[in-house]
């Protein structure tokens, strides 16, 4: 119990620091970069893929994979789409802006 609380407080500390950091990281973004930044940040928010991986594993391990397992599996697919697609599409946008690669 006390262990849970300690780790909860630690998590909240990390949460607060990361929020402050997020606010500070972005100050001035030229309009050209609004969409790529949004898209890149979106890909990073796909980090929930880590959670999906864990739960898939736990649930499938639990013997008879039921609804919970398939939900986790659906989460895994969605998160992967978000991550892979997100970074790739951001890359495409940025390459166009940088003008290095043309269609």
């Amino acid at each position: 119990m006390s262990v849970f609380l300690t780790s909860l407080i630690a998590s909240i500390t990390v949460f607060v620091l990361a929020i402050f950091l997020g606010f500070e990281l972005i100050s001035k973004v030229p309009p050209t970069l609004h969409t790529p930044l949004m898209s890149g940040a979106n890909a990073i928010s796909g980090i929930t893929i880590v959670g999906a991986l864990f739960l898939s594993n736990v649930q499938f391990n639990s013997g008879n994979p039921g609804a919970a397992a398939w939900l986790a599996f659906a989460a895994l697919i969605m998160a992967t789409i978000n991550v892979v697609g997100g970074f790739m599409v951001t890359n495409r946008m940025l390459e166009m802006i940088a003008g290095k690669k043309r269609k």
Partner: protein, 482 residues
């Protein structure tokens, strides 16, 4: 012993990569590197997770790998197939998936805890903390999903209804995406939100009962739809950015649920950074976030155009452009649709060859996504220095001989200066200050915001009716024949 912490160090490293990645993404030179760093961070996080799972004993490996492959392939397919103009829709869609994934992880965790009631915490604090985190990740996650889907539809403007009869050009029936928001809808939003909070407290009181969390999921989905439906398509980039921030927050809550710091760090950082970006974008569009969210705007009521104007032809325009000293090109959504950027660049080259000073006036919200024009013109090899931002080009326009507006409308509509109507107060490019104005578009019809444009009917304005690319090419040939 070392085993169990090596993973945490890996996660910390990947969090650091995310931090540097986001930082770099916000500046033009380092942005591609920033994106790559983010991707490495994600790869590392997945790798660490897989390794940890292996070390703890993994069973459903085939399923997990196949999940990754399926998701990856779909992602690659979507990301490579999409047209430039459709990217914002795609980002919205991906974002929705991210939100849904977070919500599903929470849901799956609850279900497994209910199946195996030993896992339901007996300690009050833990119960409260975990269940609140699960409830919030569900709320935020589902709102992100349905909100993003709505935003995607609105960015697209509508959709073809499948299985309807094709018309002569082979297209199915198209319906516009609805924009609908009576003032009382805001109260409904408040009520649903209150309902969500009540449901979360009910889940805590009945941790074994799955129905409350399912109820929460359903009304959260509803909330997402109701939040976005009254917002005009022109404001969608802001909405998508806000939803992006929310999907970060959802991931952070999921991190609390499964007790993993990297989710908390990456999620809350994206949440905060996304919020800041939302405000930056609002400012660029001269809107406040509350106005965007709670007052409907744009695309709702199109004015009907009654006045007429005689069009010019390319030869006439070419003659006008002959022998001038300064020309400003103002591109808009129409240039993007007709893919006219290469023809525009050719026209600029012809002028420059004659010694004319050419620059491009870029309105921050021209097109359908931020930076839309920059991307297209960069694709056509237009030098970066010629792309002038709104404020700077406005001080040059009074000395400009010819302003050529190609497929832009709202962004040059003088009615915005009056401060009234859907465009009221939006800063515009003062194309009407130039000596001669040439406007290339297919008709006299309205732009995104659905407002008629007085500029078309001014004496100094020459309308060149037709598809953007086609007219630019004709203009180029006419110019060469001079």
């Amino acid at each position: 012993m070392v085993d169990s912490t090596i993973w945490d160090i890996g996660y910390l490293l990947s969090a650091a990569l995310f931090i540097i990645g986001i930082k770099r993404l916000s500046s033009p030179k380092t942005a591609p590197q920033g994106n790559r760093l983010g991707a490495y961070g994600m790869f590392l996080a997945v790798l660490v997770t897989m390794a940890k799972m292996f070390s703890e004993g993994i069973l459903g490996l085939e399923l997990i790998i196949s999940g990754l492959i399926i998701g990856g392939l779909i992602g690659i397919f979507m990301a490579t197939r999409v047209e430039m103009t459709e990217m914002p829709e795609l980002v919205a869609l991906f974002n929705g998936f991210g939100g849904a994934a977070s919500a599903l992880v929470g849901l799956s965790e609850v279900m497994s805890k209910i199946n195996n009631s030993d896992l339901i915490p007996t300690d009050n604090v833990e119960l409260y903390a975990t269940w609140i985190a699960i409830g919030l990740s569900a709320l935020v996650g589902w709102v992100t999903l349905t909100g993003s889907l709505m935003a995607m539809g609105k960015l697209r403007g509508g959709f073809y209804i499948p299985f309807t009869k094709k018309d002569e050009r082979g297209r199915r029936k198209w319906i516009n995406f609805p924009t609908w928001g009576p003032p009382w809808l805001n109260y409904v939003k408040g009520l649903i939100l209150a309902g969500c909070i009540i449901l979360i407290s009910l889940t805590i009181q009945n941790p074994e009962d799955i129905q409350y969390i399912i109820g929460l999921s359903v009304i959260s989905c509803l909330l997402g739809i109701i939040l976005v439906i009254p917002i005009g398509g022109a404001d969608m980039p802001v909405v998508v950015s806000l939803l992006n921030s929310m999907s970060g927050i959802a991931a952070a809550f999921t991190g609390f649920v499964i007790g993993n710091n990297v989710l908390i760090i990456a999620g809350s950082m994206v949440g905060a950074a996304g919020l800041i970006l939302t405000f930056i974008m609002c400012k660029a569009m001269n809107r406040t976030l509350t106005a965007v969210l709670f007052k409907s705007f744009g695309g709702s009521s199109k004015e009907t155009v009654s006045r007429t104007k005689v069009g010019s032809d390319p030869e006439e325009v070419a003659m006008v452009c002959d022998g001038i000293t300064k020309c400003v090109i103002i591109p808009g959504y129409g240039m993007a649709v007709s893919q006219a950027q290469h023809a525009v660049k050719e026209f600029a080259d012809l002028l420059e060859y004659q010694g004319v000073e050419v620059s491009y006036g870029i309105h921050p919200v021209a097109g359908r996504m931020p930076g839309h024009m920059n991307v297209l013109l960069a694709e056509a090899n237009v030098p970066y220095e010629q792309l002038i931002e709104m404020d700077d080009i406005n001080s040059e326009l009074p000395d400009t001989d010819v302003a050529i507006i190609i497929g832009a409308n709202d962004t040059v509509n003088p009615v915005a200066r009056s401060g009234e109507g859907p465009l009221g107060g939006m800063p515009i490019i003062d194309a009407d200050k130039a000596r001669v104005v040439v406007i290339i578009k297919r008709s006299l019809s309205v732009g995104y915001a659905g407002v008629d444009n007085d500029l078309f009917y001014e004496d100094k304005t020459m309308m060149l009716f037709g598809d953007g690319k086609k007219m630019m090419n004709e203009l180029n040939s006419a110019f060469k024949e001079l």
